[in-house]
């Protein structure tokens, strides 16, 4: 059936008010959008509150503390009024470096395999493994680090092995830097600015190597440094932290590899390159920003990990200064947790409570900086492709 349109009656004039609908309906829309806006504002409020609480309590600490007790003391004994920051910082660096030695290669290798080599079927079997690993709570890794990694792995790598490992790391480092230098300085026809840049980098690398060697030797020089502490060491905790970080590094790196256009791979294969050549010389350089971002995010995560070090780091609520990963120690995060645990209220003399917020502020600023830098790198990949 069709309606006959009667042309004799003119249509009512169409105005904007008519199109806008009834005012109650418009009011409802306005109210609803206000509710959504309020929900979005909550995260701004939370950020401001975090900054406010950290800065306010840390300020009390900064203005009130005798700075002599924050540097060069025997260790971190907050309940006795000794807040030696190097104790926490050095332990944090040790844990982060060892964790990244575990998570970096394993995470990146997994990402490359999943992205470049795995067939659909292998991928659908192996990808969930990383997803399950990502969901394992950190207390579980703490338990595992204390009861498995520590006795089975770290305590077996005994006294001499530690020297061997240290020497191995230094030799590998030196070899890599030497190879790099040989490659960089092989071509003679480059601009002076490029040469200066390479010399600066070489200086940085050599300085880093000297620092590494000095650290290994200084630990080796201490009489008791090789005595591997029983039941919990920084190294065991660090391996646990590294395991927790694998899925994160893998997923960020895989995203970066996936954003490299297919055409690059096809062009490379078309020129006759093997798959390994394509991966190493075409795909990885194209995704390098994202891979750097994956490492930085991993470092940030490892720095902020608390429970594994708290449970398996081998120190109770205070720690002597140590630079050996085979000793017990407290990182910044574990120091905070151990200070707050067991009691309803953080007690201690004077500024104990405030010291918590000072350490928290340092940690917050460090991770914020790392995350911002990582964000820049990720954005760079997005811009390019």
């Amino acid at each position: 059936m069709t309606d006959v349109i009667d042309d004799s009656i003119p249509p009512p004039p169409l105005t904007l008010d008519l199109l806008a609908g009834p005012s109650r309906r418009r009011l409802k829309e306005r109210l609803i959008s206000a509710v959504f806006f309020a929900a979005a504002i909550v995260s701004v409020i939370i950020s401001v509150l975090i900054m406010f609480s950290l800065v306010r309590e840390a300020w009390t600490f900064i203005t009130g503390v005798d700075w002599g007790v924050t540097w060069g003391e025997a260790g971190w004994f907050p309940r006795r009024g000794l807040y030696d920051m190097p104790t926490l910082l050095v332990s944090s660096v040790i844990v982060t470096v060892v964790a990244m030695l575990v998570a970096g290669p394993l995470g990146l290798g997994s990402a490359i395999y999943l992205s470049e080599y795995a067939s659909r079927r292998t991928r659908s079997i192996l990808k969930p493994v990383l997803e399950v690993l990502a969901g394992v709570p950190s207390v579980v890794l703490g338990f595992f680090a204390l009861f498995f990694i520590s006795p089975q792995l770290i305590e077996r790598i005994g006294r001499n092995a530690w020297l061997l490992i240290g020497a191995l790391i230094i030799v590998t480092y030196a070899a890599v830097v030497a190879l790099w230098a040989r490659r960089q300085f092989a071509e003679a026809t480059v601009a002076r600015a490029v040469i200066i840049k390479r010399v600066v980098w070489l200086t940085v690398f050599v300085a880093g190597g000297l620092l590494l060697a000095w650290w290994v030797l200084s630990v080796a020089g201490e009489a008791d440094a090789f005595a591997v502490k029983r039941s919990g060491q920084l190294a065991a905790a660090a391996v646990g932290v590294g395991i927790l970080t694998i899925p994160l590094v893998a997923s960020v790196a895989e995203d970066a590899l996936a954003s490299v256009p297919r055409e690059l791979r096809e062009a490379s294969a078309g020129l006759g390159a093997r798959q390994a050549t394509t991966t190493v010389q075409v795909v990885l350089p194209a995704a390098v920003s994202g891979i750097v971002a994956a490492f930085i995010i991993g470092i940030s995560r490892a720095l902020g990990e608390t429970m594994v070090v708290f449970m398996a780091g081998g120190a109770a609520d205070a720690a002597q200064f140590t630079s050996s990963p085979f000793d017990g120690g407290l990182t910044m995060t574990a120091g905070m947790a151990s200070l707050a645990t067991g009691t309803d209220n953080v007690v201690g003399e004077g500024l104990t409570f405030q010291s918590l917020y000072f350490v928290g502020l340092v940690l917050f600023l460090l991770t914020l900086l790392l995350n911002i830098v990582a964000g820049r790198f990720v954005a760079r990949v997005r811009e390019r492709y």
Binding site: E29, S43, I46, S110, S231, Q275, A276, A340, L368
Partner: protein
């Protein structure tokens, strides 16, 4: 057509032989093997971890599962009523706090960011704030909770006074005592912790909704809210659900903020009942608490002086892992199912 000859062979057959030559790419195979080893080691670690935890907790799980389930925190591991019931209850309420606070606020914030937010400096600030919040270490959230709810600020004090006045009028005693850790503080802190995760995953799900759906709905005269309610949210629901499940699993497994807020690792007197009346029901939120991960931490610490706590911690981990892995698997399966369905 022959291309020519080199020696006895013609070029075409030589090239063919070179291309089809097998088993010479040693470096390529080695590279591939090293990559596979990285993935294999990660898998192996996961397997060893699961086996280690299971074998440690096995005696407790098989001998006295019933008592273990209903028991409480004790100071000796040989105590028959050592168990995880308080941890389960605490974790349950924390999950409820997360579901009630973080889910609605997070999803609403995601809707604002994706559907309402104008393109201006304020929106980009909002975006940066959410992203950076997701990267803040969990202990820092604990510091925030400690500052707001346990130590107390002027605003908290005002709020606590109001609640206590009302409670006094009804029951003749204070409900909330500042300076003490409470289930309320722990729950709200973890809800705040997972909020950015919920926002980011929900925003991703909403971004994946095709523009044509929205335009179709606008075309038949729907208002913005009607479009969101009837088209955007239903389409994005699986993605949002995946994000909320992951957030819930994260919140239930998280220990560091609770330690900072002051969850009980040692002995905790059991509450008589929690559903017997309004006073008991609200009273538990203002009381000291523990949660599954905290129970585990406490027992691991105790295992230094009393070895029996080790297996107990292992058994508690098995219970926690079963829950967390089930949540994660459902989330992953849901996502894969809907990805496949939509092509």
């Amino acid at each position: 057509m022959a291309l020519g000859t080199i020696g006895d062979q013609d070029v075409a057959s030589r090239v063919e032989a070179t291309i089809q030559r097998r088993g010479r790419d040693v470096r390529g195979t080695g590279f591939r093997f090293a990559l596979f080893a990285a993935l294999g080691i990660s898998t192996l670690i996961l397997v060893i971890l699961l086996v280690d935890v299971l074998t440690d907790g096995w005696p407790v799980l098989t001998d006295r599962l019933g008592d273990f389930w209903s028991g409480t925190l004790r100071s000796r591991s040989s105590d028959d009523s050592l168990g995880i019931s308080q941890g389960i209850v605490g974790s349950f309420w924390i999950a409820v706090f997360v579901a009630v606070l973080a889910f609605p606020i997070g999803i609403a914030a995601a809707v604002y960011l994706e559907e309402y937010a104008p393109r201006n400096w304020f929106t980009s600030v909002l975006d940066i704030v959410v992203r950076n919040l997701a990267g803040v270490p969990s202990v820092v959230y604990g510091l925030l909770g400690l500052f707001l709810f346990v130590k107390g600020t002027a605003v908290t004090n005002w709020f606590v006074d109001r609640v206590n006045n009302r409670w006094n009028a009804w029951y003749g005693e204070d409900l909330i005592e500042l300076g003490q850790s409470t289930l309320f503080a722990g729950g709200v802190t973890l809800a705040v912790l997972v909020l950015p995760i919920v926002i980011i995953t929900a925003a991703e799900a909403i971004r994946a909704v095709p523009q044509s759906l929205r335009e179709g709905a606008y075309g038949v005269g729907a208002t913005k809210w009607e479009v969101i309610k009837s088209q955007v949210l239903p389409f994005a629901a699986p993605g949002i659900l995946t994000g909320t499940l992951l957030a819930l699993a994260r919140a239930v497994g998280e220990a560091a903020p609770l330690i900072l807020v002051g969850a009980i690792t040692g002995r905790l007197a059991p509450r008589d009942s929690m559903f017997s009346g309004l006073e008991d029901f609200f009273g538990q939120f203002a009381d000291r608490f523990t949660a599954m991960p905290i129970v585990i931490v406490g027992w691991v610490q105790n295992s230094g002086r009393d070895e029996g706590f080790g297996p107990a911690a292992g058994a508690a981990i098995v219970v926690l892992l079963v829950f967390v892995i089930i949540m994660n698997s459902i989330a992953v399966l849901l996502r894969n199912y809907f990805e496949k369905k939509r092509g």
